[in-house]
Every structure is written in C-alpha cells, then in structure tokens.
C-alpha cells in the first residue's frame, strides 16, 4: 500500500464487513466485466528518492534563466521574486485549501482574495477586479465575450495586430462558435489609427495593448474617447509591471482591463501556472465572469469576507452564467498579492524604472552595432524590436554558446519586419549581462 494511504488491512476487513462485501473488488460489480480491471501498461513505481533523482535528471536537461542571462519576454517575464512570496505560498493553509465555499473556514483565502482585488484595483485604477482567470490570454478572450454580452446587437470585435499573437489566437478560439467577426489584425503592419478607424456602431469592443507586443507605449486616452463615441467598449491589455510608472487602464478610460499577472511574483515555470488579471468598471460588475470576494460582517458584527454576486456563476446559473470558469488561479493571485504588498508603492515604481532604464540602455548600445537597428515605433517600456543582420534563429544559436537566452523571433508572426527580434530587459538583467549581450551580438 502506498505511503499516502492510512487504511490498514485489518481496517479494510472491518469496513468490508460493515458494507457487506467479501472483497474490495466486489464494490465494482457494477462495471461491465469485459472492461473491468484493465492491465495498465505503466512504468514500475518509484520510491521517493528514486523519483526525486529522476526529476532532477529531467530538470537538469533544461537551460534555466538563473544560470543563463535571459533577454526573452514576449508575454512571460523574468523578474525578481522576493523569497517571502514563496514562503507564504508554501503554507499548507493556503495551498491545500480549495475555493472558499465555507467562509467561516476560509477567512484566510477570502481576505487574501479581497486584498488581491484591492491592490490590483489600485494598481490598475479600475473599479473592480475578479479573483483571477487562467492567464492574460484567456482573460482577454473572456473580456471580449463580456463586451459582447454587455452591448446590444454588436457582434464585431476590433483588435490591433500589436496585441500579443497568442492572445489573439485564444480570442479566436473562444469566440469561434459565437457568430462574431474579428477584424483589425489582418495586416500585421496596420497602425493603431488604422484599427481605431474600424470601430463603428456594430462594434462591441476595441482591443488594444499598451505596452503592446513590441513594448511600445500608447496614449490611449483619445482612443477611449473615439471608441466610446461609437458606443463601443475599450478593452485594454497591459503589463502590471509597467503600471508602476505608466498610464493605467483606469486613467485612460478603459471599460475592461486585462493583463498577464505572471510578472508579479510568479516564476516563469515554462508557461504556467500564471495569472489572468481581469478588471472592469463598476457599471459592468454584474456581467463579470469569475469569482469575487466581498467584505461583510458576521453574527457578532465582526469584519469578514465571503464570495459574492455568485448569481453570475456557473454553479448557480448553469447555461445562463457569465462564463464556465470554476477552478481559477487562486494561489497565483495570492503570489501577486504578497508580491505587490512587499514591493508596495515605492517598489512597484522602482522595478518599472529599472526595467525602463536598463532596456533603453541596452537598446541604445545594440543600435550602435553595425548591422543592427532598433526599430522605433514610439516610446517603449522594457521590450524593443531589433532588426538583425541575420535570421533571429541564427543569432540566438550564437548567443546560446555564450549562455544567453536571446530574444523572440518575430519572423513568423510579423514577417514584414524582416530579420527582427524582440528583446526584453528587466531588473534581472544586470548591466554586466547587457554589456555581454552587446559584445556577443557584435561577434
């Protein structure tokens, strides 16, 4: 018997007697005999030490960003995570609990969600934030569905080509059965103005990203005005780290704001688990998907927290729910909460500043190299596009020999840019790393 099971042979005997079964196998008599008890062709069981060794072996076959300098971003970012974040995450009280259906036994989780909603709302300057989506891409797709459900007779979604290509792909996956048209990103070189011009009285929402996939920052205030004048909603995707320094969705007048929360205290982990941040205006709260915690009081008048406005959700409304989401990314929201609390008002700004200045330093140095050109699309945060003298894949292979994980190859998604690569610089890239990158590119 495995070491996770607490029933002895003697217990089992007594329990079977109580049940009136001769053997455990008898409990499965309802399963058709022809398919009952299949032989599973699985590898032999490992002891814990053997398993740990096997896992270490597999782990060692990957080039990690701790031992290599990483200049890759494009939707997932290598940031500093204070040790205290994981220390809180590893508390059993948080990670071995589930959705707080019984609030009296889950005040820890509920208060943490409430504080997540509060901190994130402060960071984004948005009225309401839910208790999380799977990632930035699914938050964006559900935001678009919310826009469709919050407007009348508007079945068109306009999306800029500078929105993360994976987000746009997920948007199309999510809406393929809903009879909507998605326009705006047919030409990868279309400008923001080109895209805004497509917003009309059939448009549910305009989806833009700032900083966008290329790292470029946009002034979205005039865009919000134009979108609202057409009776549509503005869905803004953003990067929470940039918000330490730059215009927030709330300040520009976005109706719905989404972001990938991974940069806030969550390790890269090969793409997940991450955190979908989802925020909206107060007007839209009752159309919002996902869970929400609210403050209330108990019988004795003590402050407490509960899940609230649950009539939006699938376990109550079934096919009339605002979304099918149930399990979310709760623990990742906790990571972001602890991370934001640790960095606080000053730290959030400071991280954004370090990213900005180091990225600009790196861009300026790379731009000096023969054959390399930083393409200018306007002000940028911590990512920038470099046109290279050779295909990005070749350059990245050369960087690999110098223990550098290079930038994102843009040639598949944006062929019009030529041999272009998207570099990302964060506070984890030391000035020495940046100089080494520049020297290696120089060759």
């Amino acid at each position: 018997m495995s070491h996770y099971i607490s029933i002895t042979d003697r217990d089992r005997q007594a329990m079977l007697e109580a049940i009136g079964a001769a053997a455990v196998e008898d409990l499965f008599a309802v399963v058709p005999t022809s398919v009952r008890f299949p032989t599973l062709d699985l590898p032999a069981a490992l002891s814990e030490a053997e398993a740990a060794s096997e896992l270490r072996r597999l782990s060692s076959k990957n080039a990690d960003v701790l031992t290599n300098a990483c200049f890759l971003g494009a939707g997932a970012y290598h940031h500093f995570i204070p040790a205290a974040v994981d220390s809180i995450l590893r508390r059993s009280e948080f990670y071995t609990a589930y959705t707080p259906y019984q609030p009296e036994l889950a005040q820890g989780t509920l208060q943490a969600i409430f504080e997540y909603q509060s901190l994130m709302s402060g960071l984004m300057q948005m009225d309401a934030v839910n208790a999380s989506h799977y990632d930035g891409a699914t938050a964006l797709a559900e935001g678009a569905i919310m826009a469709l459900n919050s407007t009348r007779n508007r079945r068109k979604i306009v999306v800029a080509p500078s929105v993360n290509p994976q987000y746009r792909a997920v948007l199309r996956t999510y809406t393929q059965g809903l009879g909507v048209s998605i326009v705006g990103d047919e030409r990868p070189e279309a400008s923001l103005a080109d895209v805004v011009a497509l917003v009309d009285d059939k448009t549910a929402c305009l989806i833009v990203q700032s900083p966008d996939f290329f790292g470029t920052l946009h002034d979205l205030k005039p865009v919000a005005e134009q979108v609202h004048a057409a009776g549509a909603l503005l869905l803004m995707a953003t990067n929470p780290v940039a918000l330490g320094l730059f215009q927030t969705p709330g300040a520009v007048g976005a109706d719905i704001a989404v972001a990938e929360g991974q940069p806030l205290g969550i390790p890269l982990s090969f793409g997940g688990p991450y955190l979908g941040i989802f925020a909206c205006t107060e007007k839209l709260v009752r159309k919002m998907p996902g869970r929400l915690a609210g403050a209330t009081t108990d019988l004795n008048g003590q402050l407490g927290y509960v899940l609230t406005l649950q009539t939006r959700e699938q376990h109550i409304r079934r096919e009339k729910a605002t979304s099918n989401i149930c399990t979310n990314q709760g623990l990742m929201a906790l990571a972001a909460t602890v991370h934001m609390a640790l960095l606080g008002r000053q730290g959030l700004r400071q991280v954004a500043e370090i990213c900005y200045h180091r990225a600009h330093y790196a861009a300026a140095e790379i731009n000096k190299l023969d054959g390399y050109e930083v393409l200018s699309f306007g002000p940028f945060f911590h990512e920038f596009v470099v046109r290279c003298p050779a295909p990005a894949a070749e350059i990245n292979r050369a960087l690999e020999f110098a223990s550098i994980i290079g930038g994102y190859d843009l040639s598949a998604d944006y062929p019009h840019l030529g041999n272009a690569m998207l570099f990302c610089v964060t506070e984890m890239n030391t000035p020495a790393d940046i100089n080494r990158l520049v020297a290696t590119l120089k060759g």
């Binding site: 996770y4 607490s6 029933i7 217990d11 329990m15 049940i19 009136g20 409990l27 398919v35 008890f37 299949p38 599973l40 062709d41 699985l42 782990s59 076959k61 701790l66 890759l72 997932a76 809180i88 508390r91 609990a97 589930y98 009296e104 036994l105 005040q107 208060q111 409430f114 699914t138 987000y167 997920v170 199309r172 996956t173 059965g177 330490g244 927030t248 300040a251 390790p267 982990s269 090969f270 997940g272 709260v285 403050a295 509960v306 609230t308 399990t327 709760g330 623990l331 929201a333 602890v338 640790l342 960095l343 008002r345 730290g347 700004r349 400071q350 900005y356 200045h357 180091r358 994980i405």
Partner: protein, 502 residues
C-alpha cells in the same frame, strides 16, 4: 488565540519598503512625460517584509486545509498533496525556464510533458492527450469546441444541441452555452442513471454530443453507460466524459473502453496537484484518434530522441498561452511515476471503500439519495426525522465545530437537501469513524437541541456571515469608509488607523 488581522492597508506607513531591489546601474533615459502615471500609486500600501510575512501568516491561520483535517468536499477530491511534488515543481530546470525558449534547451521539460501525455492516455484508454487546458471547465470547453469542429468538418451543420444530465456539474451546461450550443437536460432514472427513455426522446440529428460524468455526481457508476454511448453514437453524436470523478475508477475501468470519445482529466483532483485555495488546476484532455486532428495545441511529439511541439492539422486553436500549467504537469507526473499501475488502483479501491463505509454507517439516519453501492462519494440528504427546521446548511455548519470541513452541499441540484461526501482514499478509518460519530451526534442534536445547529459554527474565527448583505451592497475592494461602516464605526479621517491589538 485571536487571529483577527486588519485589512493590509491599515498596516501601511509612509516610507516603508518590503523588498530589496538593485540600483538602476546604467545611465538613465528620459521618460515620456505625457504617458506617465500621475497618482503616485496612492492606492498601494507601504509595509516592511516583516509586516507582510506576519500579515499573511496570520490570515493563513484562519483557513482550514487538507493538512489540518478531513475535507470531504464532494466532487473536489480533496486528498493529501504529497510534499515531494512541491520540491519537484520548484527545481530550477522546471520553475525557471521560459516557455518560448528554443526546444533544444528544454528537452527535459518537453520529455516530462510527453511522458505525462502517454501516461494519461494509457490510464484512461485514449489515443492522444493535450495538456494545455488550465482547469476542468477549460478542458470541457476544448472538448465541446472539438465536437463542433468535427461535425462541421463533416458537413454536419445542423447539430446545435448538447445533452447534459440534470445531475451534471454547472460547468457542463455553462460550457456548452459558451461554445454556442443549446443545452438539453436529460432526466435521471430511479436508480441514479441517465434516464434512457428521456435520452432516446431527446437525442437526434441535432445532437452534437452528450456530456456525462461517470461515476456521476450522485456518486454512482451509470449501470447502462455502454448503452448510453450506443444511443448517442447511433444518433451521430459524440460522448464527452467529465473526468471530475475519475478518482473512483483508476485501474478499475478506462473511460475510453466504455464508449467515451473525449474526456478531461482534473490533475488537481485525481492526480493531487494542490487546489491552491481555488486553483491553479490542469484540465488536460484525451480523445480517440478520430478526434485528435481537432485538439488544441501545441502537443508534444517524440521522434529520434527529440521532443518537439506541434499543432494538430485541424486544431480548434490554442485555449491558453503556451503549453498549459506546466507546474501542475510536474506534480502529476511525479505522482503517477511513484504509484505505478498497482498504486493507482489502490487509490480508487480505497476511495470507494471509504465512501461506502460512510454510506452504510450513516444511511439509517440520513436518507441516501439512491440506495445502492456508491463509488468514491456518497450523496445523503439533510432531511432528518423529527427535525423539520433543520436543513443541510445547519448540519454542514455544525460539522465545522466537530473539526471537519463540510461536504459539498445543495449539489447535485436534482437531490433535495443534498450532502455530497467524498472522503478520498487518504483518510484513515479512525477519521472516518470520528466523522460518522459527528454526523450521528448532529442528527441527535437536530431533534434535542436544534438551536445548537442554528447557532453553529461557534469555534471558527468568524461566525455565520451576512452573505445577503454582501451581495446587496457589494464592497469588492478596500475602502476606508465602507469598511468602517461595516465595523459600525465612523470613518476615520486620520492617515493612520490604530492597529487593533491581539
């Protein structure tokens, strides 16, 4: 011990920082002034690391969790989460690799993912597995999109209905609606199975498929599952398996062998990746070969010792960024590798044994919804003799005072006053006996001292909470005035609120 902890904003003090950051270290560049944020981040607090750690540690102590006690939340499979999994997922070659790195630099991670695909396919009897969906509901969403794509690809365009038994999880009808299908509810028969007559009446040329949880949410293995599949297939529909209850049948029966075409696995249930207070999960999906071309991607492929990613030719597209919740893959992989085939079967045998033991020890007091042997969970009813004013909610709240997390209550909605108990295989007989004793004591109290049940719980950090008030006047973020009003105080205008003592 009083564990009350004020909202974190009330601990803030101007000038404190809780993280140690490097200097900029390079010449600074000009900032685009017109794009800057102008509020100086006034909505964010300032605390030291000490304060942040104490705050979250203190609030953590206001939680009940698997590591503190039995958590028999039906349909959620709250079993023990092995500690080795947490170590494995945090190895640097797993936790600190970028999802867009060159494939050659992440062969170990791709290999683990590939092997997990193979293991899951074998365990449930499918040909292909995609690990991308982040949760059960997203697995369902992927599956129903695949059904849609399959029918459309065959030019079968009139199939706009999805059938769901009335005992289904809410996510099933919500998923079908989200894809754009009409939801048709199927009745349950007197033995807790899909009602075959109702199914035959409702299935037809408009049926895209049936979503079935088996064992179902009544904790029962459908006695005609193969016949159900036959009826649906004969009408040209497909069989979706909701794997929420897969913990009952590991090594007992493979869903792929009884007629399911597609299924999602809940790695956070069956394969014990931690529930995290709500997530993350992983809703990997498996299917028969004829549906594999429509799966979301990427999927991992292995050839000549190299692991690569590919997207199936007629894929519905990606359902989330990157490959999915990889950290959960590592945990589930570790679990399966340590248990092997015999260990997996033991899981289900003990899970089913434990649930049936509770059933026979409680059914004389709490009516069972369906009187036949159950699988990994048993559904009772909170309808007690001579206690007309006592409801399932009171019983659940009183259980808390006995040190147990309540079972799932009022679900399935097809059973009045439902109490859905899933003990899982990791509970000891000693704990089960204590739970039985508590339930029987509560039944006794319900008649003798019902006020005790109405007042429960009394041993928790807070008493019953005003949920109606919370929904009527939602306070969804910290607002000093709103919080002060809840506390029955006047809103303080001071910058610093006096910290409560404990």
């Amino acid at each position: 011990m009083n564990t009350y902890e004020p909202p974190i904003f009330e601990l803030s003090g101007s000038g404190k920082v809780g993280a140690s950051l490097p200097a900029v270290g390079v010449p600074t560049s000009e900032l685009p002034s017109e794009l800057l944020r102008t509020d100086d981040l006034q909505g964010l607090p300032e605390l030291s690391e000490t304060e942040v750690v104490r705050h979250f540690t203190r609030i953590s102590q206001r939680n009940f969790c698997i590591d503190t006690g039995m958590y028999p939340l039906g349909s959620c499979t709250m079993k023990y989460n092995p500690k080795i999994h947490e170590e494995a997922a945090r190895l640097p070659g797993f936790a600190h690799i970028h999802p867009l790195q060159d494939e050659a630099s992440v062969q170990g991670a791709l290999r683990l993912s590939y092997e997990l695909q193979q293991l899951l396919a074998e365990i449930a009897g499918f040909d292909e597995v995609c690990l991308q969906p982040a949760a059960g509901a997203q697995g369902e969403f992927a599956g129903i999109l695949v059904f849609r794509a399959y029918h459309l690809d065959r030019g079968d365009e009139q199939r706009d209905e999805v059938l769901c038994p009335n005992s289904a999880h809410g996510t099933n009808p919500a998923t079908a609606a989200m894809v754009g299908f009409k939801v048709i509810e199927i009745a349950t028969d007197a033995r807790g199975n899909v009602d075959l007559a109702d199914l035959r009446a409702k299935v037809g040329p408009r049926t895209a498929g049936l979503m079935l949880t088996n064992p179902n949410t009544l904790g029962l293995f459908d006695e005609h599952v193969q016949e159900v599949a036959q009826i649906v297939h004969d009408a040209g529909g497909l069989m979706y398996g909701d794997g929420a209850n897969f913990n009952a049948i590991l090594g007992i029966v493979r869903p792929g062998d009884v007629g399911f075409d597609f299924m999602h696995y809940n790695l956070h249930k069956t394969f014990t990746t931690p529930h995290g207070g709500g997530g993350p999960g992983c809703g990997a999906v498996g299917c028969k070969a004829f549906l594999a071309p429509y799966l979301p991607g990427p999927i991992i492929h292995h050839e000549n010792g190299q692991y690569t990613r590919y997207v199936p030719e007629k894929s519905i597209g990606r359902v989330k960024s990157f490959m999915g919740n990889f950290g959960m893959f590592v945990r589930a992989y570790t679990y399966i590798r340590m248990l092997g085939a015999a260990g997996l079967r033991e899981i289900s045998e003990n899970a089913v044994l434990n649930a049936n033991y509770l059933r026979v020890k409680l059914q004389d007091v709490y009516p069972v919804a369906y009187d036949r042997p159950c699988m990994h969970e048993v559904v009772l009813q909170g309808k007690l003799k001579d206690a007309p004013d006592i409801h399932t909610l009171d019983i659940a709240k009183r259980l808390i005072d006995f040190g147990f997390h309540p079972p799932t209550v009022y679900f399935p909605i097809s059973v009045a006053e439902a109490i859905m108990i899933e003990p899982t295989e990791t509970e000891s007989k000693q704990n089960l006996d204590a739970f039985i004793a508590a339930m029987r004591q509560i039944a006794h109290e319900a008649v003798e001292t019902p006020e005790v049940l109405h007042a429960a719980p009394t041993t928790t950090p807070v008493r019953r909470l005003d949920e109606v008030g919370a929904a009527r006047k939602p306070v969804l973020k910290y607002d000093r005035a709103a919080i002060a009003a809840l506390r029955g105080q006047a809103a303080s205008t001071d910058d610093q609120i006096v910290r409560p003592t404990y």
